[in-house]
């Protein structure tokens, strides 16, 4: 079972967890609904859509309201420390959370106490905390964009805001930055670097570059990185190996984006709506008519 952990931009939104449904461009968890625009709701929507295509149970969402002061994130961190051991999750994707090294480490310790710890994917604020804590190697996959890759490559930067100027943010430098991130052990087992070209890499180097279809406008659109992380999370949860899942996900997200005929003013829900068509096409082409590999234990 896949769990997705993150925040919504509403300070009064309560801490909730439960199976995610996507209906009429809104995420539903129990009786609570959230609009899908960007951030964790966009990731949840993409993952829910992808799980449906793959015949998997919907992901479990763990959400709290936080507009940047960190209070909601700390509530959620505390909830995870006390409950994740009983969750039955086999895959966990961490997303928009206030980066906090102490809380990150508490969550990681709680995960390490599980007899069969889940596979971990991190993006956004939780990836920042993972790198800053020196624990990147505990993760199966990070999904940075070019600016975040530069941050991973800068062994001294505690946040992308402090990435030093000589670590160039240009996309042309991606292979060098990937090497540097692995050299200083600031990368997960695999990296899926989002950008004009998507790169799938490990400490052995760049395994694949996915660059078509190419729609430059997607770079400006908030939430396309979130949709990519949602798709790859669902593919990994279906039993596909991480490297292959990352390559497929990059192709699917690009194709869904292409079908949305994007401009730099497009919104991410326009892309998410095309995920089923793009998935079927990419998976069929790759000979991947998927049957779920993992059983889906009920949550404790």
């Amino acid at each position: 079972m896949l769990g997705i952990v993150g925040t919504v931009p509403d300070k009064d939104f309560p801490l909730i967890s439960g199976r995610v449904r996507l209906e009429k461009e809104r995420i539903h968890i129990g009786e609570t609904t959230v609009p899908v625009n960007r951030g964790t709701p966009a990731l949840l929507a993409a993952a829910a859509m992808a799980c449906k295509v793959l015949g998997l149970a919907p992901p479990m969402g763990y959400l709290v309201g936080d507009t940047g002061l960190g209070r909601g994130s700390r509530l959620l961190y505390d909830h995870l420390v006390h409950s994740i051991g009983r969750s039955g999750l086999r895959f966990v994707t961490f997303h928009y959370l206030q980066p906090d090294v102490d809380w990150h480490n508490k969550v990681l310790f709680a995960l390490a106490d599980i007899s069969h710890p889940p596979l971990l994917i991190a993006d956004a604020g939780f990836m920042y905390a993972a790198k800053m804590s020196g624990q990147s190697k505990a993760y199966e996959l990070f999904t940075p964009d070019a600016g975040e890759l530069a941050f991973l490559a800068d062994e001294e930067a505690p946040h992308p805001f402090y990435t030093r100027g000589f670590i160039l943010h240009n996309e042309d430098q991606v292979p060098e930055l990937i090497s540097r991130a692995y050299e200083h052990e600031n990368a997960a087992r695999y990296l899926l670097v989002k950008g004009r070209q998507d790169h799938v890499a490990s400490n052995k180097g760049v395994h694949a570059v996915i660059d078509s279809p190419a729609d430059e406008a997607l770079e400006a659109m908030g939430g396309t990185g979130d949709s990519l992380t949602g798709i790859v999370s669902a593919l990994i949860a279906s039993g596909i190996k991480t490297k292959e899942a990352a390559i497929l996900a990059a192709g699917i997200n690009r194709l869904a984006g292409h079908y949305a005929r994007p401009t730099p003013a497009s919104q991410v829900m326009e892309v998410i709506g095309h995920i089923p068509r793009a998935m079927e096409e990419v998976l069929d082409k790759g000979g991947k008519r998927i049957e779920p590999v993992h059983s889906e234990p009920e949550i404790a």
């Binding site: 931009p9 960007r38 940047g68 928009y96 206030q98 980066p99 946040h159 400006a220 908030g222 003013a265």
Partner: protein
């Protein structure tokens, strides 16, 4: 490294931003910087200030109810915020990136059409509040943001304004 400089440490980044606004309005020689490793916890900023001005600065901040948690001398080099920008021209649209944050406007109307990148929880909130408004009408990230991603977006926003007025 200047031994005559100190740093003001606050509870969170939004307090740093408030204090910076107050101190810059008072024309103190201050800079927003990254904290030294020993007091780093996550999404942090500090204010570097001239130690000789400590009493005046603290009094002013107390008056505004934004007193720092502590004041310490600078003992190691502080991290500098990112100061490089990437600009991409899509024809009708213009995108500016600062660190991990991207801001895109419609050049014909100056309307902000997208905010992307970032990983701190105020990013979706900032996007919600800024997208659909013109550069001149949208709230500045420093006014409603709370984190380093919000501060990076502020830099992109200032650079966008600079480019649009050039």
């Amino acid at each position: 490294m200047n031994i005559d400089r100190g740093i003001l440490v606050f509870e969170n980044t939004s307090e740093v931003i408030r204090a910076e606004t107050i101190l810059k309005a008072g024309e103190w020689d201050i800079r927003v910087m990254g904290p030294p490793p020993e007091i780093r916890s996550g999404c942090d900023l500090v204010i570097e200030f001239p130690l000789i001005e400590e009493l005046n600065i603290l009094r002013r901040l107390r008056e505004e109810e934004v007193a720092p948690l502590e004041t310490v001398p600078v003992s190691s080099p502080l991290l500098r915020p990112v100061n490089l920008f990437q600009t991409k021209d899509f024809g009708r649209f213009l995108m500016v990136r600062a660190a991990n944050m991207k801001l895109t406007i419609d050049k014909e109307t100056s309307i902000i059409v997208n905010v992307s990148g970032g990983g701190c929880p105020d990013v979706p909130y900032l996007a919600q509040e800024m997208v659909g408004k013109s550069l001149s009408d949208a709230p500045g990230p420093r006014e409603i943001g709370h984190t380093l991603c919000g501060y990076a977006l502020q830099l992109a926003y200032e650079e966008m304004k600079r480019q649009c007025s050039a």
